[in-house]
Symmetry: C2
Subunit: 314 residues, 2 copies
C-alpha cells in the first residue's frame, strides 16, 4: 500500500473518483480513534473499488484539513453536496458534536457540521456513531444481511457497539454503549480497568490497550493456547450472551483490530453457547450461535454505513 | 377483596362486563407464574374499572377451564371474538406455544391458540410475553409514556423483561430475556443460583424465591437497613446500568412482587447512577436516572397490554 506524506494512505486506487463522477455522488467519512477514512462514490459498487483516503486521527485541525483537501475538488465542482459521517463517540448526535466524555481529549466538543461547513461550504451532513453506521452496512449489505435485530461490536482502541432494529439504528436516550457493559470479572482478575468511568466494563477490561497492559502484546500476537485468548474470549462471550438475552439479535458482528486474532471468533462463539447453557432451545441457540456470531463483511463497515446514510439523504 | 371457591377472586366489580358490552369488546388474559387474570372491556376507561377474574395458575386444565368459564358468556353471545394474552414464557410466539424450558413444568408445550379454540370456539388470538405486553401498556398509557425506547422488568417468582422501541415490542431471535442477564457477583456471594441454566443470572440471584433462600424472608419484609436491600438493589442496578448502556432507554419500569419493598426502587436508582459513574453526561444520566427508573403505572400492566394487543386486532 503506497505511503504518502504525513501518514496519508490511499487504500485502493482501482477507480479514481477524480474522473467525472456520476450523480448522485456522495461523500463518506469514517472517523475512528486512530485513523480516519474518506471516500466519494456514486453507488455501492463504485464504493467497493473507490479510492479511500486514510489519515491518522491526530488533532482536529490537521485531520480535518486533510478531509477538506480530499473533498474540496468534489464540493467545489458541486459534484458532492452530501457527506455521511461515521464517527467515534460518544456523540451528541442532535447537535453533530463529539461528547466531552470522549477519550479522544483533543476532539471533545468538535462539531462535525460546523467544521465541514467552515472548510467546504454548504453541505448536507448525516452523522451517526461509527458502530451504528457499521451495523447498518452489515445488516443491509453484509454479514448480518436480513437480520431483524443485529448488533455490531468493534473491539479495538476502544470498544463500541451498534444495534439495528428492522434495518434502522437503535437510538434511545443516546446510542448503544455496549463497550461500557458491566462484566463480572473472573476470580483472580485484578488488572486495573483502563476505563476512567467503570471498574469492570468491557472496554476497561479488554480494549486493545488493556490487552497490551495485561499480556505485553497486542491481541493479534496471541497464540491459540495463550491464556489471553481464553480470558478475552470469555469476556467477549459474557457480552455476547448479554446482548443475546437482552435483545435477541439474529446476528452479532464482531469487528475491530482485536478480532484480527484468528482464534478469538471461534472461542467466543463456543463460550457464548456455554454461558447461555442451552437456554432458549426453541431457537436452537446453542447451534445457531455458532453462526450468529460472525466477522464483518466489509473491511470498513462504518465507511460503508456513512455512505449509505449520505445516499439516503439524496 | 371477596374470596371465591377454588381461589377465584374478583379484583374489582366497579363495572360488570356481564351487562351489555359495547362493541368492539375484547378479552384479555394475563398469565403469570402464580396467578392468571381475565378481563373483558370495550375501552381503556372501561378496563380500568372492569371486573377482573383472578385464579391461581395451577394445572393448565384447571386454570384454562376457569378462563373458559369466564369468557364463554361473551363468546357465546358473539360479544367477544378476540382475546389478547400476555403470558409467562419463554414463548414460541409464532406457534402460540409456551416453551419447553419454562420453569412452569406443567405448562410446557401448552398451545394458547389451541386451548382457547378447543374451549371457546373460533377466536382471534394475540399472544405476547407478559413483559412485552407490560412495556406496551406502560409506554402507551403508563409510566413510560412517550419513551422512544423503554424497558420493563418484573422481579417476582421469576424475572422477566420487555423492551419497546418506537411503541412496538422488540422481537429478535426470541423476545427479551433480561432475567437471564449474566451479572458479576459481589465478592463473597456464594449463594447457589436458583436458575437451572445459569450460575450468575439476575433471576438465579434475586428472583423472589432466591431472596427467600438468601434471607429467610420475602423482599417485602426487608427493612431499609437490611443487607438484603443493599444486595438486591446492587444486582438490580447492574441490570439497569447494562440495559442503559446497551439500549439507552428513556424509561426503565421495575415491577413485580419484589419491588413492593418500599426501599428498593430508590436504592436501585442511586446505585445505577453510581455504577454508570457519570458517563454519558450529555444526557445528564446521573440526574435523569433518578426519574428514568420508575414504578409501573398499572397494577397489572400485562393485562392492559394484552387488552391493547387484542383491541389492535379489531
Amino acid at each position: 500500500m503506497p505511503k504518502r506524506p504525513n501518514g496519508q494512505r490511499l487504500l485502493s486506487s482501482a477507480c479514481s473518483p477524480l474522473s467525472e463522477p456520476t450523480p448522485p455522488t456522495v461523500g463518506a467519512i469514517e472517523a475512528g480513534g486512530t485513523s480516519l477514512r474518506c471516500v466519494v462514490a456514486s453507488s455501492l459498487e463504485e464504493l467497493s473499488g473507490a479510492t479511500v483516503l486514510e489519515v491518522p486521527t491526530t488533532t482536529p485541525e490537521e485531520t480535518l484539513d486533510f478531509v477538506a483537501r480530499f473533498f474540496r475538488p468534489f464540493t467545489q465542482q458541486g459534484a458532492v453536496n452530501t457527506i455521511g459521517i461515521a464517527s467515534f463517540g460518544p456523540l451528541d448526535r442532535a447537535n453533530f458534536t463529539i461528547s466531552e466524555t470522549t477519550p479522544k481529549v483533543l476532539w471533545r466538543g468538535v462539531n462535525w457540521h460546523h467544521e465541514l461547513h467552515a472548510r467546504l461550504g454548504n453541505l448536507s451532513v448525516a452523522l451517526e456513531t461509527d458502530t451504528n453506521a457499521a451495523v447498518l452496512a452489515e445488516v443491509h449489505h453484509g454479514s448480518a444481511k436480513g437480520a431483524r435485530v443485529a448488533a455490531y461490536l468493534t473491539i479495538g482502541t476502544g470498544i463500541g457497539g451498534g444495534i439495528a432494529v428492522e434495518g434502522a439504528p437503535l437510538r434511545g436516550l443516546g446510542h448503544p454503549e455496549i463497550g461500557h457493559l458491566l462484566i463480572g470479572r473472573v476470580p483472580g482478575d485484578t488488572q486495573p480497568s483502563l476505563c476512567p468511568f467503570h471498574h469492570d466494563c468491557l472496554e476497561g477490561l479488554i480494549s486493545g490497550p488493556a490487552i497490551v497492559e495485561r499480556f505485553g502484546a497486542t491481541a493479534s500476537k496471541l497464540e491459540a493456547n495463550h491464556e489471553g485468548v481464553e480470558l478475552i474470549s470469555h469476556y467477549l462471550a459474557v457480552a455476547c450472551a448479554n446482548v443475546t438475552t437482552m435483545i435477541g439479535p439474529e446476528c452479532i458482528v464482531l469487528g475491530g483490530g482485536v478480532m484480527e486474532n484468528p482464534h478469538l471468533l471461534q472461542r467466543t462463539r463456543e463460550k457464548t453457547a456455554e454461558l447461555l447453557g442451552g437456554y432458549l432451545p426453541q431457537h436452537q441457540l446453542r447451534d445457531a450461535s455458532l453462526d450468529t456470531i460472525v466477522a464483518p463483511h466489509f473491511p470498513h463497515s462504518g465507511l460503508v454505513g456513512a455512505w449509505l446514510l449520505a445516499a439516503a439523504l439524496q
